[in-house]
C-alpha cells in the first residue's frame, strides 16, 4: 500500500526532528491527531495543524493528555490512522490509555519527545529517562513496541515504521525521541510516494456472523473492523474473550494476557532493528540509542586514537529488547559500556542479557545536555583495564 502522493513532500529538506515526525506521520497516512501543547513536542502539533487541512486530516487540541490519548483510540475504531504527541509530564498522563490501546489492540502511535525529569524537570532540555516508563508505565502486563530515532531523517523514517508496526501487530507503538533530536535541523530526504511502503489495517474479510474481534491469526494478531461496518462489536478494557465479551476469570485472563505479550515477544526477530558494528578485535562494546548514539560514534574514534577498539550496538527498536543480539555479543566476554541520558535504565536489560558473561558499565547522565565524550572515555578506559 502506498501513500497519497499529494500529501508526501517528496524532496530533500532541512528539517527539525519534530517537523520530520509530522511529515513521517502524514506520509504514513495519519489522518487524526489529538494533542495537548507541551514543550518540547509542541512544534509537531503546530505543523500538523497547519498541514492537515490540506492532507485531509483532522487535528484537535484536547483539554489534556488523558483525553488526547483516548481520543486516538476512538478515532482508530472510527477508521482513522491516529497519533498523539507529548513529553514527560504528558506521557505520564497517557499511561492510562496506552494500557487501554494495548488491551483493546488498537493500532496507534504515541510520540514522546523526552525531556529531563522527574516531574516538570527540564521542559526545554533533553533526557532519555522515560525508557522504562515506555515499557512498564501502564499497570498490568502488556507489551508495546518502542523506537528510538537518532536524527531528523530517522524521525521521518521511524514514524512511518511506527505506524506500520502498529498496524501489523495491532499494538500502540511509541516513538521515543528527545529534545535534542526533536529540535536539531538536518537534511531529511523524503522519497517519492511510490517508494514508501505502508502496512494496511488488518480489516477482516469475514462476514459478521463468522467474525470474532479478538480471535487471533497464526501470528497471534486478530483482524479488526471499524465502527459502522455492521459488525456490532463490543470493545472493552475489561478482560475479554475472543468475542470481546467481558469474562472475569483467571482462565480468560491467562489466555488474553499471554497472547498480548507473546504476539510481540514471539515476533521480536521480525520487529528487530539494530545497528550493529562489532569488529572481531573489539576490546569493548558501546551500547546506546537515540541522541546518545551520536556522541558514542564520536567517542569510538577518540578511543581508537588511544588504541582501544570499540564495537557498537545501537538498538533502533528498543522494545521489545533485542535480547539475542546482546546474548550473542556477550559470549566473547568483552565488556559493555552503556551510554544513556538517564541514571540507568536500558543498562539493566544489557546486564540481564550479558548474564554474567560480560561485565556491564553505565555512563549515567541526569539529562539537560548530551554526554561529555571524556566522561564516556573514562568509563571505557576502566572497562578495558
Amino acid at each position: 500500500m502506498k501513500p497519497d502522493p499529494k500529501t508526501v513532500l517528496t524532496g530533500t529538506h532541512f528539517l527539525k526532528g519534530n517537523d520530520a515526525v509530522c511529515e513521517g506521520a502524514i506520509s504514513a497516512g495519519c489522518n487524526f491527531v489529538a494533542g495537548y501543547p507541551i514543550t518540547p513536542s509542541t512544534d509537531i502539533i503546530e505543523r500538523i495543524s497547519k498541514r492537515f487541512p490540506f492532507t485531509g486530516g483532522t487535528f484537535i487540541q484536547m483539554e489534556d493528555e488523558l483525553s488526547s490519548s483516548i481520543a486516538v483510540s476512538g478515532a482508530v475504531w472510527g477508521g482513522a490512522k491516529a497519533m498523539t504527541v507529548t513529553s514527560g509530564p504528558g506521557f505520564s498522563l497517557m499511561m492510562e490509555n496506552i494500557g487501554y490501546a494495548a488491551m483493546t489492540e488498537t493500532p496507534c502511535v504515541f510520540v514522546d519527545v523526552q525531556r529531563g525529569g522527574p516531574s516538570t524537570g527540564l521542559p526545554t532540555l533533553p533526557g532519555q529517562a522515560d525508557m522504562m516508563q515506555a515499557r512498564w508505565g501502564s499497570h498490568g502486563d502488556y507489551q508495546i513496541i518502542a523506537l528510538c530515532p537518532e536524527s531528523p531523517q530517522e524521525c521521518y523514517d521511524l514514524t512511518i515504521k511506527a505506524f506500520n508496526l502498529s498496524e501489523e501487530y495491532r499494538v500502540p507503538v511509541l516513538l521515543m525521541t528527545d529534545e535534542c533530536v526533536g529540535h536539531m535541523s538536518e537534511r531529511v530526504v523524503i522519497p517519492p510516494a511510490d517508494e514508501i511502503e505502508l502496512s494496511p489495517r488488518r480489516y477482516t474479510t469475514l462476514p459478521p456472523s463468522e467474525f470474532h474481534l479478538f480471535r487471533p491469526g497464526k501470528d497471534l494478531v486478530p483482524d479488526m473492523i471499524k465502527a459502522g461496518d455492521g459488525y456490532h462489536v463490543h470493545v472493552s478494557g475489561l478482560t475479554h474473550d475472543e468475542h470481546g465479551r467481558p469474562v472475569i476469570t483467571p482462565e480468560c485472563q491467562d489466555a488474553l494476557v499471554r497472547r498480548l505479550v507473546n504476539k510481540i515477544r514471539q515476533n521480536e526477530p521480525k520487529i528487530r532493528m539494530v545497528e550493529e558494528d562489532i569488529p572481531d578485535d573489539s576490546d569493548v562494546i558501546l551500547v546506546s540509542y537515540g541522541i546518545s548514539s551520536r556522541i558514542v560514534f564520536l567517542v569510538r574514534e577518540l578511543a581508537r586514537k588511544e588504541g582501544i577498539k570499540a564495537g557498537i550496538i545501537r538498538p533502533i527498536v528498543v522494545w521489545p529488547f533485542p535480547e539475542e543480539v546482546f546474548r550473542k555479543a556477550a559470549k566473547k566476554s568483552r565488556p559493555f559500556v552503556v551510554v544513556e541520558m538517564n541514571m540507568g535504565q536500558i543498562v539493566y536489560e544489557v546486564e540481564r542479557c550479558a548474564a554474567g558473561q560480560a561485565k556491564t558499565y553505565l555512563v549515567p547522565h541526569a539529562g539537560g545536555t548530551v554526554h561529555n565524550p571524556e566522561d564516556i572515555l573514562k568509563i571505557i578506559r576502566e572497562a578495558v583495564k
Binding site: 489529538a34 484536547m62 471499524k226
Partner: protein
C-alpha cells in the same frame, strides 16, 4: 375450511437492540439503569437511525456497563474517558451517531473536565447520564452529585460538600440541548432522549435514578419502588426555567423538564467551514 391462526409470542421491541445472550445483566433488583436503557432503546427505535451507524460509548461504573448490553458497535473505555473517546470516534467518522451513556461519577468527577470541554466545543454527541448520587460499583461512596446530608460509605456522618447541578453545568459549558427526568418519568425521558438524539451538537439528558442497594438503603429509601414513589411526589416539571430554578436537593423538590434547546454551530461544522474557506483561499 379452517384457517390456521398463528399465535406468535410477542417479541419485546427492545430485544433486537440488546445482546440477549448477556442477560441477566449485572444491575441490582430495583436499579434504575435498566429503565434508562429501555427508554434509550425505544427512543433509538423511534428515531429510525440505521443501527449499524449508531455507537454507544461508556466509561466505568454501573452505568458504564450499558455498552456491554447493547447490540450496536459499543465501547467500554477507561474511567472518565467515554467523552474524549467518543470525540475521536465522531471526528474519524462523522456519519456515525455517537451516544455516551455513563454515570455521574464517571462523567462529572473523573471525566468532568472532558464533559465541560466537549460541551464547550459543541461536539456532536449525545450524553446520557444516569445520576444515582453515588459511586455504586465500588460500594456506595459519595460523589460529585451526592446531596448535602446524604449518607454514603465514605460520608457516614452525612455529606457536607455542595453537589454539582448537572443541567446548570451543561448549560453554562455550552450544551445545546439539556433535559432532566427521573426514572419515574419514563415517557418524558424517552421523548427527551429522542430529541437529544435528533439534535445536532452536544445534547445532554440527566436521568435521576434510585440506587436501592448502595444509596437508597443508607438514606431511608427502603427499596427502588419507595425511591421512585418519592420521585413521583417531589418532582416538579418546569420547561425552560431560569438556571437558578433547576433545583435538586436532598429531600427537597426536584425540578425536571426540558431546560434548553438552542442552535449553535457544532465543532465539525465550524471546522469544516474554516478548512473549506482556507482551501478556497489557497486554491487547493
Amino acid at each position: 375450511m379452517s384457517v390456521a391462526v398463528s399465535n406468535p409470542i410477542p417479541v419485546n421491541p427492545v430485544e433486537k437492540y440488546l445482546r440477549m445472550e448477556r442477560i441477566p445483566h449485572i444491575w441490582c433488583p430495583g436499579c434504575g439503569i435498566g429503565t434508562a436503557l429501555n427508554a434509550f432503546i425505544r427512543a433509538l427505535d423511534e428515531a429510525g437511525f440505521e443501527p449499524d451507524k449508531v455507537c454507544v460509548v461508556s466509561g466505568i461504573g454501573c452505568t458504564g456497563r450499558v455498552a456491554g448490553y447493547v447490540n450496536l458497535d459499543s465501547f467500554h473505555t477507561t474511567h472518565g474517558r467515554a467523552i474524549p473517546f467518543a470525540t475521536g470516534l465522531k471526528l474519524a467518522n462523522p456519519e456515525l451517531k455517537i451516544v455516551v451513556f455513563s454515570g455521574d461519577g464517571d462523567l462529572i468527577a473523573i471525566g468532568g473536565n472532558h464533559f465541560i470541554h466537549a460541551a464547550q466545543k459543541n461536539m456532536d454527541i449525545t450524553v446520557i447520564c444516569v445520576n444515582n448520587f453515588n459511586y455504586a460499583m465500588t460500594g456506595g461512596q459519595y460523589g460529585p452529585t451526592t446531596p448535602i446530608s446524604a449518607q454514603t460509605s465514605t460520608a457516614p456522618w452525612g455529606s457536607y460538600q455542595a453537589p454539582f447541578n448537572l443541567p446548570k453545568l451543561a448549560e453554562s459549558a455550552g450544551a445545546v440541548y439539556v433535559a432532566r427526568w427521573t426514572t419515574y418519568h419514563v415517557h418524558q425521558m424517552k421523548k427527551s432522549i429522542l430529541e437529544a438524539l435528533r439534535k445536532k451538537g452536544f445534547s445532554f439528558v440527566e436521568i435521576i435514578s434510585q440506587c436501592p442497594t448502595l444509596y437508597g438503603r443508607r438514606n431511608k429509601f427502603r427499596d427502588g419502588i419507595t425511591h421512585m414513589e418519592w420521585f413521583k411526589e417531589h418532582s416538579v416539571i418546569k420547561d425552560h426555567p431560569i438556571p437558578s430554578d433547576i433545583n435538586l436537593g436532598f429531600r427537597t423538590e426536584t425540578i425536571v423538564g426540558k431546560f434548553l434547546d438552542i442552535e449553535r454551530p457544532t465543532y465539525l461544522d465550524a471546522m469544516n467551514d474554516r478548512y473549506q474557506r482556507i482551501r478556497e483561499e489557497k486554491g487547493v
